[in-house]
Amino acid sequence: MHYTDVVCTFCGTLCDDIEVTVEDNRIIDIRHACRVGASKFFKASDIKHRRTKPIIRENGREIEVSLEEAVEKASEILADAYRPLLYGWSSTTCEAIKYGVFLTDLVGGIMDNTATVCHGPSVLAFQEVGYPSCTLGEVKNRADLIIYWGSNPLHAHPRHLSRYSFYPRGFFRERGMQDRELIVIDVRRTDTAKIANKFIKVEQGKDYELVSALRYVLNGGVLKKDYVAGVSREEIYELVDKMKSCSFGVLFFGMGLTQSSGKHRTIDNAISLVRDLNRFTKFNIMMMRGHYNVTGSNEVLAWETGYPYAVDFSRGYPRYNPGETSAVDVLVRGEVDAALIIASDPVSHFPKEAVKHLLRIPYISIDAFYNATSMFAKVYIPTAVAGIECEGTAYRMDGVPIRVRKIIEPPEGVLSDEEVVRMIYEKTMEKIKERIEEEAAEKVIV
């Protein structure tokens, strides 16, 4: 069986032109995908390396159970919890995330997604100054100046350059890369920097200063220093000139800028730079989102609650205060007493203090792939891989929603994230309803 227009659910580039050949429910050939994407397809269809039975751990023993038992146990943990954390939600579909919000609202917990340790500062900057942006097709059709700052797409988003930004021929850029200029700003000469027309090396941690210098020069200031953040005065003037004189510029930024010292202040400054540039020409800015649906996760949370991440329902309504209600902080402070971790592996990636607390509390791990977090979970439920074994919606880094497809059957008895979260939600609802009735009954007796 040959499938076309398949969507690759690995990174935020969300390529939708993949061709896949399937035989006996195994993927045997993949066209157009990058190496990272292709390996995900192959890995998913190689079920020897996946666990396919739910697990409950009790007193250090691991017991394989049925899905119903696992769901029962999971809902018990959540219904009993005083302040549970529901974290992950970036490498899964919007449909699953939606039930995740219902569930968190029901149990009065905290819902956070991986943006909290990724582009969270970018979102905070967004809320400070805004975000002049566009879709990737606009870049393809119009852009003549492309800047990547603190981002190495050749490794992290391998097809970004060829599908949307530098290489493709666009409506107003018929000659493709010959009609465009590529500039890379980074602390080291990355592979992307090697193919760029110009590489600007910024001193580590000095991104804020460089952005400020650019804004200063752009707004008519005269630079007296020879070097700012390790970049010479001439280079700064030249860069400002290029930015001002292009007809459509775009600044893509990644973790190199977001997690540089200053964090959201740096992004705030970078967005302000782009806003200033719009007085002279057309200029846009875009986050290079990592997980394929981290954008969708922010979107679903925002339309359901008003806030994009770190939403706390413990007062009965949504509240948002990153730093107080974000996943790492509530774990480090030891505030949460149970957790549900889905499509994510915080045990491998969170700070030590946060992981220490997570390992002290009962938690549920839901993931297509058995990971370090699943290894210590009270309940582990395996699920189907979205975009390969089940359908759903995902949002590309520029906010374009795409329906991801199902091309092979999941292992027997394995359901999608959406179905598993919905089952837990319904089971938890039953339990909570019982309790409300019990409480009401007690009151009558009193």
């Binding site: 805004g130 606009e138 339309w303 359901e304 309504y317 309803k433």
Partner: protein
């Protein structure tokens, strides 16, 4: 479920019923002929007003830019929250947001006011799936989405080449692909120019590269709209929104509708006309030109307006008019987001604080009311705030009270900037709307504009969407305007599809309403030609494949199709 609403004062303008005491019979989600009281739920509505469920034709409640507005404004959500609750064995979700409420509570808040339907007016085709995902998470009310076409490359290309049949076939394809309801045009040509940081400022300006004028786009799409026999008219947000002295452009725009006719409705809707009725030379001499615009509307019988009232609240502005949002943010220096969408449109979002102390805001407040009071025929006026641009929709009851009570307007003006008395004529207007006229501008005219025969009235066969308000028309005193505002804020009863959803202002039941979309079939050969162009453009210029573009019906709650079959597309000259 069978329900009888007994002895209410019924206001049903489509059936010419003006405050008669009548019983309304409801069965299986429809209004039906009289039946016996046995095994029906009888509700006494004596001394109360019974109206069809209200309809909002233009309200940004779902979609990419609405959500961008939510993400952009955490400070806004702290002003207004609704906590989760259990009631009648059901779990009602929590939510937050004053000017951009989250989706679940959007449904609750509309139902609470007796609204049973709302259309989101700006669906960018590429982002259609997003809009539908949000619409499908709004409970209770029926909904639909108007589709942005005014800056679409295909539309501009076909119209420039004089291939209006192809343009029509493309519009039909697009509406079906994205499950849209009508043709929406926003700043025609300006959105494309914004791709280069430019804009258009007159109807004769040329769009860069495409070499077409806003006038040609407006006229072309108006004809396409009639060629496809669409239920709604062209829904137009014309150029120069919010600019000083823009009323002349607005009047010129209306004149483009000359010569076109439709038996059932107007052919052009000037949307949020309030933002297009400004005079003056600069912000210092900013003044109301509502009188001139209203005069033009009175003359042009085939044009209607929805008002876009300003309610003087801090709000979040959002529109597919990207250059306008940039301009506004450069005046206010507040945060600004923009999202240009390839080949299609260019939305933007920025917060705005309408302060009664500001000269401009207070005149804007007057402009909206003046328009509503000066246009003689209420059938061509629709009550909207262009939510959330002029103010949040939860202020509709206040606007109703302003329209019904001169005293309320006078009292409200006392705390306003004095400009409202000098540069607007609101203080000289005596007209007060009666309940029948209110029923027209909030229900009947909107249903008629949308071409929905089963909505906006209480005749036999209509959908059983009913609102009951605790107002006694016999004892109505417009000087007691707080009572009017309170009654319209908290419906005594809202019935949606024959089920009680609101009782005395409290939401007691929840389910999902219908989602309307149109499906126009045109002749095959024509469609094939268009499909060839689609193939070519999608392969080269879009960033998604054609196969991944259309939205499936899975995304719509209770999808409801309005079908048209056009044997041969006839060109309208």
């Amino acid at each position: 479920m069978k329900i009888i609403l007994k002895n209410g004062y019924v206001y049903d303008p489509i059936n010419n019923i003006n405050g008669e005491v009548m019983d309304i019979f409801i069965k299986d989600g429809k209004i039906v002929n009289e039946f016996r009281e046995k095994d029906a739920k009888v509700i006494d509505c004596k001394g109360k007003v019974v109206m069809p469920g209200a309809i909002d034709i233009h309200s940004h409640i779902a979609g990419g830019k609405v959500n961008t507005g939510r993400i952009l404004r955490p400070e806004d959500h702290r002003r207004f929250v609704i906590a989760r609750k259990f009631k009648n064995g059901k779990f009602f979700r929590s939510g937050a947001g004053f000017s951009v409420p989250s989706t679940r509570i959007t449904g609750y808040l509309y139902a609470k006011m007796g609204y049973t339907m709302a259309f989101t007016p700006a669906l960018p085709p590429l982002m259609a799936r997003h809009t539908h995902e949000e619409l499908s998470s709004i409970p209770i009310i029926d909904k639909g989405a108007l589709t942005l076409m005014g800056n679409n490359w295909f539309v501009m290309k076909y119209l420039k080449a004089g291939e209006i049949e192809k343009c029509a076939a493309f519009a039909a394809w697009l509406l079906k692909a994205v499950k849209g309801y009508a043709i929406k045009v926003v700043n025609p040509g300006g959105g494309e120019a914004w791709g280069w940081g430019k804009n258009v400022t007159s109807l004769e300006d040329r769009v860069p590269y495409f070499d077409i004028t806003p006038k040609e786009i407006i006229e072309g799409l108006m004809k396409v709209n009639e060629m496809l026999k669409l239920p709604h008219s062209e829904h137009l947000h014309t150029i120069n929104l919010g600019r000083v002295g823009n009323y002349e452009t607005t009047i010129k725009t209306m004149k483009l509708a000359r010569g076109l006719e439709n038996r059932d409705r107007h052919v052009l809707q000037i949307t949020h006309a309030q933002f297009h009725s400004y005079g003056g030379e600069s912000w210092k001499s900013f003044e109301s030109k509502a009188y001139e615009v209203a005069k033009a509307v009175n003359k042009m019988k085939n044009v209607a307006i929805d008002v876009g009232f300003v309610t003087l609240d801090p709000t979040t502005t959002m529109t597919a008019d990207g250059p306008m949002e940039y301009y506004l943010s450069s005046l206010t220096h507040l945060k600004w987001t923009n999202k240009d969408i390839e080949l299609e449109t260019a939305p933007g979002v920025t917060p705005y604080n309408y302060s009664p102390k500001s000269a401009v805001s207070s005149v804007q407040w007057a402009v909206g009311l003046e328009l509503a009071l000066l246009v003689e025929d209420p059938w061509r006026v629709m009550l909207t705030t262009d939510h959330p641009n002029g103010g949040p929709f939860i202020r509709y009851p206040r606007i109703i009270a302003w329209l019904m009570s001169r005293k309320y307007r006078e009292d409200f003006m006392k705390n306003m900037n004095k400009a409202v008395e000098k540069r607007a004529i609101i203080s000289s207007l005596d007209r007060e709307y009666d309940l029948y006229e209110i029923a027209i501008i909030t229900r009947a005219s909107q249903a008629r504009a949308l071409g929905l025969k089963e909505k906006g009235h209480l005749g036999v066969g209509a959908d059983a969407d009913v609102a009951v308000y605790d107002i006694n028309p016999e004892e109505l005193n417009t000087a007691e305007y707080e009572k009017i505002e309170r009654a319209f804020s908290n419906a005594y009863l809202t019935i949606k599809s024959g089920e009680i959803v609101v009782k005395e202002g409290e939401v007691v039941n929840e389910f999902y309403g219908k989602t309307y979309y149109v499906d126009v079939e045109v002749e095959e050969e024509l469609m094939q030609e268009v499909e060839r162009d689609l193939d070519y453009y999608f392969k080269r210029y879009y960033s998604v494949n054609l196969a991944n573009y259309p939205v499936s019906l899975d995304y719509l709650t209770n999808p409801t199709k309005i079908e048209r079959k056009i044997e041969r597309v006839k060109v309208i000259k």
